[in-house]
Symmetry: C2
Subunit: 227 residues, 2 copies
DNA sequence: CATATACGATACAGTGTGTATGCTAAAGTT
DNA sequence: AACTTTAGCATACACACTGTATCGTATATG
């Protein structure tokens, strides 16, 4: 995470290299914590729009210029706070594709119950105007989670749970995009009960062999598509 | 469309009722066209952020106050322009669920090749801070398209193409959300070639009977799920 | 004619941005 | 201890957009 953060111009709180000796007065790490807490707090209580450098500086009891020293703009600050909050993807192998998918979607559900929900819309808007920010979000948030799910699909293929000829990236979108879609447009609520339904659909779409999913595998009636 | 527009406070260009006599000087309809054209042009060339009342007024050669007379803010203006651009959903019955889905997704692909692509991110961010705007977008853009696809699924069920026990709203999200997701995060390109893949997946997820999809229907081996 | 609204042209306060400029504080270097 | 470099605070400033409020003038209805 430290390294990927450095893709931002200033590098946020991770600007200080790990071992290298640094010239000059070191940054006060307590301030970083105060700022991140302030950002997450404002996100929760007042939403993305209320996250301004002025607001955060007031709330974190530091100067506005201190914020500019660490992040080029509010987008980068929010991105940093969100990545910090979400942490890394555990990416466990639970033994079956169904279990892996359920775990991944449950994690996604949990994330949207937190400050991420208040941040996505605004973040997405800023990503449209800042290619570097978009890249950072994709690399730090999206990519690792997608890769972990992609690996789960491949394991499922190796186990013979699902068919081989699949566009996994499309399946990934179909499985996860509904969460973002609902969060952004609000046409349906995001519930934890949608996860099993999506998993069912994705597994059928992936041509799951119903026999394989149970213990033994009889009825080798194959549901493979021809294309 | 006229009536749903009136849900906005000012009502945009549709404020003048159809038959009723109006007091005072009537609005200049040419200005409405100039403004919408200006908005779509700025969206295409410079993106959502560049759409400001000042910019649009300058480009449409009208006073900024004229804009405020018609729309409460830029969000409503952009929403109006987008709805105006997208028009209504044709919602044809092409005889098979596959054909209907392919048509719907192709329409979605086309929409994202237009100014919608530049507008979604910003619009979505403003929706998060304006419940009325969010409702307008949902009612005028999302709802009719979803309802038309929902009807296609129901026809498919009536024809026996897919299974009965389905959460159609989840399928709708899985089919369409990937377009928005990709447009907003840019992790994958939106191509027309993703549409048939998504349709294949959705149909399998809906438990399509492969025999039914061909002309005759033999092999009534049912693929229904139990849940 | 009176009335009511549209349109243009300002002006204005408010808010957030991004940068610049002093100043003091805290570290390492010579 | 003096020097150098950066951190952090406190300002100030120009810039852009917003939203509202006035004007005066134009154009419709009754």
């Amino acid at each position: 995470m430290r390294s990927s953060i450095k893709k931002l111009k200033h590098g946020g709180a991770g600007a200080t290299p790990a071992g290298a000796a640094v010239l000059g007065r070191p940054r006060n790490p307590r301030i970083d914590g105060d700022i991140v807490r302030a950002v997450l707090g404002v996100l929760r209580s007042s939403g993305y729009r209320a996250v301004t450098f002025e607001n955060i500086a007031r709330r974190a009891k530091c100067a506005r210029t201190t914020l500019y020293r660490r992040w080029p703009g509010k987008r980068h600050l929010v991105a940093f706070a969100i990545v910090h909050e979400l942490g890394l993807e555990p990416a466990p192998d639970l033994g079956s594709l169904r279990a892996d998918l359920e775990a991944a979607l449950h994690t996604l559900f949990t994330a949207f119950a937190g400050p991420l929900r208040s941040a996505v819309a605004g973040l997405v808007a800023d990503m449209a105007h800042d290619a570097a920010l978009a890249g950072f979000i994709r690399d730090a948030v999206l990519a690792p989670r997608r890769e972990s799910m992609r690996a789960a699909f491949r394991r499922g293929q190796a186990r013979g749970e699902i068919m081989e000829n699949l566009d996994i990236d499309v399946l990934l979108d179909m499985a996860t995009a509904p969460y973002y879609f609902r969060a952004l447009f609000g046409h349906e609520r995001i519930t934890d009960s949608m996860s099993p339904k999506i998993v069912d659909c994705v597994l059928r779409a992936a041509g799951i062999r119903r026999a394989t999913e149970r213990t033994a595998h009889r009825s080798h009636r194959r549901l493979r598509a021809r294309s």
